[in-house]
Amino acid sequence: MNDIAQNYYSHLVKAVITTNECAKKFYSFDEETHRKNYYSHSAALVEKDLASNYPNLTQKEKNIIIAQQCEILLNDEKQRRLTGRSSTIIKLEEVINRTLSQQGISLENFPYFAELPTGKLNATIIKVPNTTQYLVLFENQIYTFVLLLSKVFALSLPIYRDRVGESGISIDDSSIARHLYNNPEAFQRFYELITAYVLTGSVNNAPKYIPSYEVSYITEQLIHSMEIFVVAHEFGHLINGHFEKSNDFNIVENYLGIKPVNEVHFNWNLEWEADVTGAQLALASSLITGITLPWVYTSIQLFFHGLHFFDRASSLFSKETYNPEDKRILVKSLSHPAPALRHEHLFGSNGIEKDASGLSEIVVKILNILWYEIEPKLLELKSKLKTE
């Protein structure tokens, strides 16, 4: 039972509503506005899906299915705002719970999963004070970050259909480059995502768009496995007893009255350990979700490399003289290693095995092409903003 955690969560929600404008907006749910949004955006997506999978449906039949889908989404949104638990969160909770059982990992108390609309891009695990109960909290922007990054990546993939109509992905360098330059939408979408984050502080401000059926399908696989990895990383802290270790650390810190010199290494080691456990759980979860391992690997790579380019963009806009060769610009925080280092460590000698399919290896290639295409535009935008 995690009733204490649930109760603590309700106090956090009250506190966030009292102090945070973003939370106030989130909870002022206007059903009609949302219904209109769903009918204009999601309906188009459902229609594309139906056209591709059920071409023989009449328009009347399509309209009924679209209306049903939109009402399901609307109800989920209502539930999300009433309880902090969307169907995504409930599904994630179930997948992690089943993965842990399957791996023979038992926890004294399974954490309570919920959303806390602070307006930040993060997910976090906290311990309820003076108890052994935990909360896994999702901050609003994490979903949009995962969604838009996955979409941009899926848009960049050279998807082909063979003679019998089966889809496949070409992973050779020339096909990727040819696809990207022949279909430059991915460049534009990546630029929009990066500038929304860096200039407005919120990925939610990036324009919305509806990709093709194939791109949507790949996006779904990536979103789901990336979300699992993010949560599994949090469980990595819990399973490895980091809350206890942190307490010991604080005792040392308080006792000495100074920060121990190894604080950075200590923090980074915890993150590395959580990454490895998180990745192992995310890979194990594929037996439950049915998402194949190459997609899980790809989503993990995409998470780290996506963050890496977000950091790079932040440096580009925040530093007076931006030197892309200077690796120090990417060390953003002493609490976590830079995403590139996290990635390197994860697949290093103490980490997990590499993806045998090679699919995930194209993440770096694609993001590099995207980045080098938009970098001059970002620099141009920076100088334009400076002169204004």
């Binding site: 603590y8 106090h11 956090l12 009250k14 506190a15 966030v16 009292t18 102090t19 602070t118 930040k120 891009l121 993060n122 997910a123 976090t124 695990i125 906290i126 311990k127 004070p129 909290l137 994490i142 993010v230 990383h233 949090e234 802290h237 980091h242 809350f243 915890l270 959580a274 963050l307 932040s314 953003k332 925080s333 002493l334 609490s335 976590h336």
Partner: protein, 133 residues
């Protein structure tokens, strides 16, 4: 500043302190920039000091604690409700003859969080036990 404005400020500050302290112990999956982290750390350490001060103040001034307990008797364990009652009880004490408490929204908010974290029953029953001794 009117009593109403002070009460509102105490409500917002107490919720802010509670939230910051709760999230500060968490482990994030994505790092925050050190610049933000340092700002946050400074804020948290100020809040930690404030909470320590509020605890000491309540321990050392039994009259303040008993006034609060009397006022909080029928309150629920809701931080906003506690903060309003704490402010309404302490404002007259601070502007009256009681020299041990200043008219300061931060202190009132710190006291509200201490009361909320301890629980009204725990905090006020402690007082009764002490009186019985």
């Amino acid at each position: 500043m009117s009593d109403f404005e002070i009460k509102n400020e105490v409500v917002i500050l107490s919720n802010e302190i509670f939230l910051q302290q709760a999230l500060n112990g968490g482990k994030n999956s994505i790092p925050e920039a050190d610049a933000n982290n340092n700002l946050n750390r400074n804020k948290i350490s100020k809040y930690d000091e404030l909470i320590k001060y509020a605890k000491t103040l309540l321990e050392q001034n039994k009259d303040i604690k008993s006034s609060l307990c009397a006022a909080l008797k029928s309150a629920s364990n809701d931080l906003t409700e506690i903060a309003k009652i704490v402010a309404a009880t302490l404002i007259p004490l601070a502007i009256g003859n009681n020299t041990s408490i200043q008219l300061d929204s931060y202190i009132f908010a710190g006291i509200s969080v201490v009361v909320f974290n301890a629980g009204i029953n725990t905090l006020c029953n402690e007082k009764k036990e002490n009186n019985n001794e």
